[in-house]
Symmetry: C2
Subunit: 220 residues, 2 copies
DNA sequence: ATTTATTTTTAGACTAGTCTAAATTTTATT
DNA sequence: AATAAAATTTAGACTAGTCTAAAAATAAAT
């Protein structure tokens, strides 16, 4: 049996280690889990004993294939529930994360597969993140951050790198949502801010924003 | 903060004490919670300290108003999720309980009220049990058990007293569902079995079944 | 190449919830 | 009313997860 806490650690290690591929430090996990390094040491030992992770003292921890499968399964649930909350229960994209943090731990194959079907097999969550299918396969889309977009080209918004409520609310107030068409007008070398056009209005966004907004080129 | 375990004990005490109105024994709780009496004693002390229950040594435990409110709130969530599972995700009525046992603990006012609206404010769950509204008010329907129904009268099925999977599957295999019209043909004094008509077929059900099926008289 | 700073681990203690076994109280029976 | 039976509580121990403080190992800086 896997516990709730084990699941949360596995998820954190997955995200911190670029989708379960890299080794993760004790302190990074402690920071993400809002706990102390000593607690993390205890838990990674346990995860290692249970074959969810590989761990050598002082050398960080990496998920095993088994650990990655657990992580992907949790992420699938999390993102499907987020779609449900937005599409069916009228939540806004900055409200879904907290509730999905709880829903993601409910373990019922039938529940999640029926939910998937009910939502018509969505491929992305409300923040543009890909939803793995039943077999754990992701369907990635080609995307770049606004900071690396070409001046003069036309894009559409396909995701965010920062899903914090404050960033999402900033986007709302600037009428930027998934699917919004964005033309890159100018990049200011001084502070790396970017001037973009949204329909007939032009706005300037900071480097911070430009690094957290994913775009995809639109064929003209 | 209330813990998951506290919530489950409160719910058990509520059900065992006829909806939170009567005092409940330690052993009854232990049986319902699949735990030992000594664990129950510890927990009821804790619930008492937290003002969810009144408890005097050796005298059983009763929910306080505060405890009843917690119980009703959990029951509201449980039953709304059951409706969701049946109506939207095509679960059968014998499959919903287990999953709802987990969903009922997710605490988000917005989640549950939006779910309620999405389901169009159902008044009863898939087993015919009433769903309390936002304020905790139940809308009871007048109902009697088949064992006490009048021979010669016509009823419809409005609920079950036993929600076990085996009983529900028995009803499925005999084509009895919520809303099914049932005429009472004969009561056998020898073993208290009851002969009923379902459409054009007549079947005999045991006393056990007759005591667990709720009916409401149909105006002819 | 040492010393210093940082990171990580260990040791021991705490809380929530559980258990077994023994002690106590209540209830039932003679 | 005394005794037996049943129910309940206490005492002490265990697991999961957490913490603080101290020790140990690694990484950085002189």
């Amino acid at each position: 049996m896997i516990t709730l806490t084990e699941e949360n650690y596995i998820k954190a290690i997955y995200h911190l280690g670029s989708n379960g591929n890299e080794s993760v430090n004790t302190n990074a996990i402690a920071e993400a889990m809002q706990t102390k390094a000593s607690s993390v040491t205890d838990m990674v030992k346990k995860l290692s004993e249970k074959n969810y992770a590989d761990y050598k003292k002082y050398q960080g921890v990496t998920l095993t294939e088994r650990g990655r499968q657990v992580a992907v399964s949790i992420i699938r649930k999390h993102r499907l529930w987020e779609v449900f909350l937005v599409e069916k229960l009228n939540f806004s994209w900055d409200e879904v994360h907290e509730v999905a943090e709880h829903l993601e731990h409910i373990k019922s194959e039938k529940l999640i597969n029926q939910l998937d079907a009910f939502l018509e097999f969505p491929k992305h969550d409300p923040h543009g993140d890909p939803i793995p299918d039943k077999e754990g396969k992701f369907q990635h889309i080609e995307k770049i951050i606004l900071a690396k977009a070409d001046v003069g080209s036309v894009y559409k918004c396909v995701g965010v790198d920062d899903s914090s409520s404050s960033f999402l609310k900033y986007l709302d107030s600037n009428k930027i949502a998934l699917g919004t068409v964005i033309s890159v007008l100018h990049k200011e070398p001084y502070d790396n801010s970017v001037k973009i056009a949204l329909g007939d209005t032009a706005i300037v966004v900071s480097q911070n924003v430009a690094k957290n907004l994913y775009l995809k080129k639109v064929e003209s």
